[in-house]
């Protein structure tokens, strides 16, 4: 009886401790986020008030519209969106096709071609950016969408991911569909693609995120204000309008919005993909 009670008490103590730990850790992550959020709707003076104003005395939502007109951010968002959407679309199509080829077909040179993919996955960008830059310069692609898009349009990681995932589609299913008179294109579109939905979703989010956040390559190829992407725009904005802290934060929040929406829509598929990629290795 008393032993039972003491284990109960111990259990309660443990769960209390766990929850306390959770609360502390949650605060560490949450405070910077919360601070960014409130500071984007306060005034420049309010940001640096001591003691810190944890609840802003008044809301200044106009920071958002003012920030958008203080620099051509509309243009930057448009540029980032064009690059992100095109890169994501081409990556998905080519990764799905090539991944399927590697996963389900035997052909001469398969190993060598897969090594090409693995090398592409492993070579760090700094090792290839110089020729890419020289090439872009010679082709007149500096300050152009082509210059921003072309180097990222196909992904070794994407092909690798899709191959891993599509290997798990049972061969028997494909054979059965072939026997039922399904041609190769129908097979791919109606059976393989739907079964790979979660991996495609994860790849879409990761590709868009990488393109949206990309900083190094745009920094090298884009200088013209018309062609800047959002991260370049924000860094430049910080340099030239140093006092407009609230506006920097407002734009920063707007920059995170598309990615967060994309993630929320595809959350389940992403977690599924991580879970299965770990098991299959």
């Amino acid at each position: 009886m008393s032993a039972n009670e003491s284990t109960k008490r111990l259990g309660l103590l443990r769960s209390l401790l766990v929850h306390a730990a959770l609360a502390v850790v949650g605060l560490i992550v949450a405070i910077p986020l919360y601070w960014t959020l409130i500071s984007s709707v306060t005034t420049n003076a309010g940001i640096f008030a001591t003691p810190v104003q944890w609840i802003p005395p008044s809301l200044h939502l106009e920071n958002f519209s003012q920030a958008l007109s203080a620099a051509p951010f509309g243009r930057y968002f448009f540029n980032s969106a064009v690059v992100g959407v095109v890169v994501t679309a081409t990556t998905l199509v080519t990764s799905a096709l090539a991944g399927y080829g590697f996963a389900k077909f035997q052909f001469p040179g398969r190993r060598i071609l897969f090594v090409v993919v693995l090398i592409a996955l492993m070579v760090p960008f700094q090792a290839i950016m110089i020729p890419l830059f020289v090439l872009a310069r010679q082709l007149g692609w500096l300050n152009s969408y082509a210059g921003l898009i072309v180097p990222g349009a196909v992904s070794g990681f994407g092909i690798f991911l899709m191959r891993q995932f599509m290997s798990k589609v049972p061969d028997a299913l494909l054979e059965a569909a072939r026997l039922d008179g399904c041609n190769e294109i129908q097979l791919f579109l109606r059976i393989v693609l739907p079964l790979s939905r979660s991996a495609l979703a994860a790849l879409a989010v990761l590709t868009f995120l990488a393109s949206w956040n990309n900083f190094l390559w745009p920094l090298i190829v884009a200088q013209n204000p018309d062609i800047l992407t959002v991260p370049l725009g924000i860094v430049q904005f910080r340099g030239s309008y140093f006092t407009n802290y609230t506006q920097i934060l407002a734009v920063s929040l707007m920059a995170a919005a598309p990615v967060i929406v994309l993630y929320l829509v595809m959350q389940r598929q992403i977690i599924e993909t991580f879970a299965s990629s770990g098991i299959k290795g």
């Binding site: 960014t36 052909f107 090409v116 592409a120 760090p124 072939r178 190094l216 910080r238």
Partner: protein
């Protein structure tokens, strides 16, 4: 073709496979060739060009010098004389290892906590993942100007409220500042992968372990950790690939400084091509970066395998 398929409806499917597969080889190659050729043109061909450039002296804004062949001169200089590069290699190593270690440990802790059922778990999880979606450059801007600033930063407010001495973090501890900025961003990524691993783990295995007397630390060490090994490997490999290329944070927060104290290999390659227009040296540094990255990846993998073998023994 279709007649033969119909005439052997129940024949061994392997023979059907053989018949359908072999004659269509060229058509099937079409599935992958466009993507592979593109990849080869955009990654492998440039890498070969990088090798070619690296044995030449070529400075973009001095065209009158031409592009003379210099053999291994660029490499020799980088390895034996270029102290900035030597320091950059060390800095990259330190920063990468610390970022991976910190974010992996924190991510593991968060994942273990979030794997329990409690009120408001969905909200807490969403909150924890949020930093991963902040642009790295934005993250660096916010940390530099609002958190780490020695006069108006949030940390400064915290220190002065506690009556502690002021610290100019980015000047006094540039490497650790970069580690803090990047870890805040990478912890959610690690957590996400590890949480997926934990949730795929069957409750029965743990239950069996508990009946066998494993609890708390023992349960974690002998049951949870070995089962998570693959996910931890995935975290470290993906993390290393990305963190070795860390650039935006350094460019925004410290610009490699003070001096060259937080200059990493990618940042130095960028400086060499962008500020000095020195294609030959930058190419040599890029090649060395590949060698360096491969060594780290190989070393990490070996370390991992050893750790997990010991853990399971």
């Amino acid at each position: 073709m279709s007649a033969s398929t119909i005439s052997v409806p129940d024949a061994a499917s392997s023979s059907v496979t053989g018949r359908i597969r072999s004659p269509r080889i060229p058509a099937r190659l079409l599935l992958l060739l466009p993507a592979i050729i593109y990849l080869a043109v955009l990654t492998q061909a440039p890498f070969i060009l990088t090798l070619w450039y690296s044995v030449h002296k070529w400075i973009l804004d001095q065209p009158d010098l031409g592009r003379p062949w210099v053999g291994i001169e660029n490499f020799k200089y980088a390895i034996t004389q270029d102290t900035v590069f030597q320091q950059a290699v060390l800095t990259t190593l330190i920063i990468t290892v610390l970022i991976i270690a910190v974010s992996l440990l924190l991510g593991l802790g968060f994942a273990l906590l979030l794997n329990r059922k409690f009120f408001g778990r969905g909200v807490v999880r969403a909150l924890m993942i949020a930093p991963f979606f902040v642009m790295p450059t934005v993250n660096a801007v916010v940390w530099k100007n609002f958190f780490l600033d020695p006069i108006i930063g949030l940390f400064d407010w915290l220190l002065t409220s506690l009556h502690l001495a002021r610290v100019d973090f980015l000047t006094s501890y540039p490497k650790l500042s970069i580690v803090a900025i990047a870890s805040w961003q990478w912890t959610p990524f690690m957590m996400l992968i590890l949480l997926a691993g934990l949730q795929g783990m069957s409750e029965e295995v743990r239950e069996a372990a508990r009946i066998d007397g494993a609890a708390g630390w023992a349960e974690f060490r002998h049951i949870t950790l070995p089962l998570l090994a693959r996910y931890i490997e995935l975290c470290i490999l993906l993390g290393t690939i990305y963190v070795l290329n860390l650039f935006g944070e350094i460019r925004v927060a410290t610009q490699g400084g003070p001096g060259t104290e937080s200059t990493t290999v990618p940042y130095y390659v960028y400086q060499t091509i962008h500020d000095y227009n020195d294609v030959g040296s930058a190419a040599a540094l890029g090649v060395l970066a590949v060698v360096f990255a491969s060594l780290i990846a190989a070393g990490l993998l070996r370390l991992l395998v050893r750790t997990f073998r010991e853990g399971q023994a």
